[in-house]
Symmetry: C2
Subunit: 141 residues, 2 copies
Amino acid sequence: MAPPESLVERLRRRTDWRLTAQRRVVAEAFEGAHVHLTAEEVLDRARHRMPEISLATVYNTLNELVALGELQPLQSGRGRPRYDPNTAQRHDHLVCLGCGAIHDVHARGRVELPQAERFGHEVVAHETIFKGYCPRCRRDR
Amino acid sequence: MAPPESLVERLRRRTDWRLTAQRRVVAEAFEGAHVHLTAEEVLDRARHRMPEISLATVYNTLNELVALGELQPLQSGRGRPRYDPNTAQRHDHLVCLGCGAIHDVHARGRVELPQAERFGHEVVAHETIFKGYCPRCRRDR
DNA sequence: TCTATATTTAGAATCGTTCTAAAATCAGGC
DNA sequence: GCCTGATTTTAGAACGATTCTAAATATAGA
């Protein structure tokens, strides 16, 4: 699978949203694969490149990116929400029930929701969450 | 499909956890199908039967039931966590992106996670989340 | 009934997030 | 290059949800 275009790259192309210095360091926090950060982790990473950035700006930016469809909020299990920059490609998630770590995965097979089970909903997407224990948490049990 | 045993019924059988009057009214809040309540909704329903029950007890009880595996916390989309009493039967969820309502459903088909995508995890469960718009929210768009 | 343990409770404390209003920055027109 | 209005950032206050604390109550078992 070709590596997806990065969040910063996608944002650079947008004309409806200014990519300021602060917004760029927030977006750059999401570089890499399997990156699903909490707001606090984004602040940590952003401060690394721009120590004076404020918490309010991090929250503002995360909320704007969600509204633009450039970040998907993930609420897996316990704890605060995490943000997934991989919005361009359909994918599934593997979450560790021990430590909460999340990997992007692609399930094999196909599922669909029969009409009788839709309760009148218009279904627009689906995602499968696999739950388990990562090597480290498996050892600690 | 046979209706699953209710939460209260399951709790009655436990010997490791006292089913006090307060805990019973909390558990009774989850009677019915497609019931996925927030803590606040549980408090409302519990007060109906026991007006003097405290918020702290509701939170205590919800957390204990999650630890016992009798409730599954759901974090669908935005908003506070909801609790699902249907832990005995594998099932999937259909969530409305407009209002956040959740239905229990059973997907048709089969998915699995290839070994190469497991990153060393021991996979113990999976769940598919279908996202869409309920009849009411579809109309409001 | 007595005693030790478990449970409940009100209210304070904490935590994550949003709000507010002032300061800083920026784009476009001169 | 400088104004000017609009946008963005910011510190700190405010807020809402949840957890904590420590005292009161209820319970099980002797």
